[in-house]
């Protein structure tokens, strides 16, 4: 049951660093390519949300990524150091076709078996993603 924890500064360049490290972890654990793609996509959406909307690109605030890789199950927790993120998620409106943003939550929900948004005691947002490798029925979704 490999577990990994990473902490990133809130800078745009951190996203590429995170994706590089994530790709390495998934590769060495033999995760199938399709699943790697979808897992990386969902994590990147949560990461970008934490970076831009949660931490507002404040370099003094960090983003934590915790991964659990088991046979048949991948999970990831992405936690920012912002405030009020959960309320913003609940208030969000679906994007129009010509919107330049707002598609990240929908992509997470499309690909992950479970997406859960929770608030930490300090008011920050934690996004929990679960990918079942074996079965994709009984999809649970929480907001």
């Amino acid at each position: 049951m490999p577990k990994y924890e990473f902490t990133y500064l809130s800078a745009v360049a951190s996203e590429d660093k995170m994706l590089d490290e994530l790709a390495t972890v998934l590769h060495i654990n033999g995760i199938p390519e399709d699943l790697q793609n979808w897992f990386m996509l969902a994590i990147s959406e949560a990461f970008t949300n934490a970076l831009v909307h949660g931490n507002k690109l404040n370099p003094h605030k960090a983003i934590k990524l915790a991964l659990n890789i088991n046979e048949g199950l991948l999970t990831a927790d992405i936690t920012d150091e912002g405030q009020g993120g959960l309320a913003k998620i609940k208030r969000r409106q679906p994007p129009t076709l010509l919107s330049e943003g707002g598609r990240g939550v929908d992509l997470m929900r499309h690909y992950a078996s479970v997406v859960r948004f929770t608030e930490t005691e300090g008011g920050a947002l934690k996004v929990s993603l679960r990918f079942d490798q074996i079965k994709e029925n009984e999809v649970e979704r929480y907001t």
Binding site: D16, L41, S44, T48, L97
Partner: protein, 116 residues
């Protein structure tokens, strides 16, 4: 992300390689704005070597498309990997972008419009 630019008579083609995300999407948009300054508004993006795209990358493409439409230009895409194509379909962006299977088909479509 690497961007290779080629200018033909009717269209400017940018071939993208790597990830299209928050950082690289902004870089791509800046490069397109430089083309606008040269009055180049017929733009083709070959996405054949885009290995990763997320909603930030998609947002950049939507922004570029809107800027091109404002200038009465045209934006086409081609060579989407099946992974990228699926994301365009899930987000329904396949309905608003002109997407071709190959770069050649896309470039020929500009010639057809010019000839017509």
């Amino acid at each position: 992300m690497e961007i290779t630019l080629r200018e033909d008579a009717n269209v400017t083609t940018l071939s993208l390689k790597g990830r299209l995300d928050l950082a690289t999407g902004s870089a791509l948009k800046e490069q397109i704005i430089q083309l606008f300054e040269k009055e180049k508004t017929a733009i083709h993006l070959n996405l054949g070597e885009v290995e990763f795209i997320n909603s930030s990358g998609l947002g950049s493409l939507v922004s570029i498309m809107k800027e091109i439409r404002l200038r009465k230009g045209r934006l086409t895409l081609s060579n989407l990997a099946s992974y990228v194509q699926e994301i365009f379909e899930i987000t329904q962006l396949s309905h608003i972008f002109e997407i071709f299977a190959t770069e050649e088909e896309a470039i020929n479509s500009y010639q057809a419009v010019t000839a017509g």
